[in-house]
Amino acid sequence: MNFSDLLHSAMHDLLAPGASLSAFRPELTLCATILVILLAKMALPRWTTSAFWLTLLGIAAALWFAYPWSWASDAIPPAHSIFTGVLVSDSFSVFLRLLLLLFAILFTTFTQVSGVASQDDMTEFYVLMLGALVGMCLMISANHILMVAMGVELASVPCYVLAGTQRQQPRSSEASLKYAVFGAGAAGIMLYGLSLLVGVLGTAHLPTMSTRLAMLIQSGGGLDRGLVLVLGGLMLMVGVGFKLSAFPFHFWAPDVFEGATAEVAAFLSIASKAAALGLLVRLALGFSFHPDPAMLAVLAPVRHYIVVLVGMLAVVTCTFGNLAAYGQNNMKRLLAYSTIAHAGYMMMPVAAAVALVGVDMGEARAAVASLCVYLAIYLFMNLAAFAIVAFLRNELGSEDLREYAGMVRRSPGLTVCMAVVMFSLLGLPPLSGFVAKWFIFLSLISAKLWIVLAIGALNTLLSLFYYLRVVKVMTLSAEPLHRPAPTIPLVSMAGSYCMVLTVPVVLLFFFAGGLLNWARAAASTLLY
């Protein structure tokens, strides 16, 4: 194919009705929103809250475009690649994109209720958030190494700046500096690893890469090429692990969460992590799956490598996060370690899915579906936890757990919300956190990853004490003498916002079936 034909096919692919551009409308809407916000600030300087309303409007429009209106519940269109194969549009990317946009709506409201973005740099705050959101949407639908690199960088760079939005505070600037330096380093290493993988396999298109990989293994390959591939895979895992805050690359998370505002910490711990998990699923399944059964059998060593790598990282991350959360008195640090542990839980089904790819495709899809369920529930739990921390910070001026002592007398509603969220993060039965963990452990059982399952279950026990400690301090401890505990009634803006987030945490336990159907639909077009 010569250059002119290539260009012609790209143009046709772009502009033909029902082709790439229409599947890309949510992302384009977000990009347009960024421009409109900037222009509105220039044209209408008097309208001080323009950025907030326009952001809300833009995300709502993107949500409208992202929702699969034309899909019947029993006939989901198969995956199709868009923009000449650099992105893939399937039910998995549609589900995760809906989740990200839903989170963005809740998050934008959250920043307004808590007042973090009501200063004069509100415009920049929302522009950066939307930019990161576009990057995350690219990450979850990446089908080409170019989009992997683009998505990760586009999602990371605005986050570095977001972590430092409170410019005058030394802690905030330190947090953003650490995040930027470590993040840029991890991204650089990841890119070098990608260049090795791409070079040895001779293509940057993920499905073609798996074909080449199978051919390489079939032909005996040669040890040197295999070594380069293993090295490239490890380097790639550095970048993805950093975004996930998986074990050896987790160290930035507590520092950044403590230095940044609770709002930004919520954004990093939910949206950024969801996108990183989506990318991990794309990469792990992309390298380990091939539609041809003969080729699929050949790829067994690759699957083994990925299962061991991801499974080990998941187990260590989970255990480390839970152990380090003990003895933390700063709530944001405690929640940071808690999110590290949850990243570990969420990596487990990815390992299970890869282990099941050669064995039972239906079960492998079920494992991915369990990850989708976990992400949806985790969104509400974690956002609620950070929201309560942010509102209490507004009242107390402190994020120290010991300052929360005796809160139950002054603001019982909020204490109940916090208790519900903590028990749900822990995974106790009448709450949705239990459902999330349950499905993940089921997927581990069907993948026969007994060690991972045992350590995961043990970790749930381990995490019991520090989640309970939060509840204990809020209810049983006596009020501090020097000042009364904070008073946030449930009928205030802050209180009702917490309610709105806590109610789904409870309800999703009882309506878990509906969520599971969605998640199954999300995973149904993978692995074909």
């Binding site: 260009l7 012609h8 143009m11 421009l35 900037l38 222009l39 220039m42 740099d121 415009t123 920049e124």
Partner: protein, 136 residues
């Protein structure tokens, strides 16, 4: 495979080192020696240096440099369009127009924020970039 012929390369390396060492040695042996007040200073060519070489540049230059780097690199995309302008046709033309329009919007925003103002007296209306960048 026959044994590689390495000696020309080794000879070349030896010659390079010999020339470099020779030049230093010859000027050391034959050169005139005298010790003046400023002989030990760098850049002594009869003029005694004054002040520190470590000038502190104003942070304004940083902003201009960053804007230059960002906008300069975006032109790389325009160049890639330029080499295939005929094949890309009108659709490509519209796409690059959108791209340039986004760049212009960004430039207009920077202008409005006061990031392009040089003088000390003219404070921009906006607050974000200017206060962050130029404070000392």
């Amino acid at each position: 495979m026959e044994a590689p012929v390495l000696w020309p390369w080794v000879l070349y390396c030896v010659a390079v080192i010999a020339v470099a060492v020779g030049m230093v040695l010859v000027s050391y042996v034959l050169g005139e020696r005298h010790r003046g007040k400023a002989s030990g200073d760098p850049y002594e060519s009869g003029i005694v240096s004054t002040g520190s070489a470590r000038l502190r540049m104003s942070v304004k230059f940083y902003l201009v440099a960053v804007f230059f780097v960002v906008f300069d690199l975006e032109s790389a995309f325009i160049f890639t369009w330029a080499i295939c302008v005929r094949q890309a046709g009108w659709a490509g033309y519209v796409e690059i127009l959108v791209f340039i329009a986004v760049l212009v919007a960004a430039l207009a925003y920077l202008w409005r924020e006061g990031a392009l103002d040089w003088g000390a007296g003219t404070r921009g209306k906006g607050s974000g970039i200017r206060d962050q960048g130029i404070r000392d």
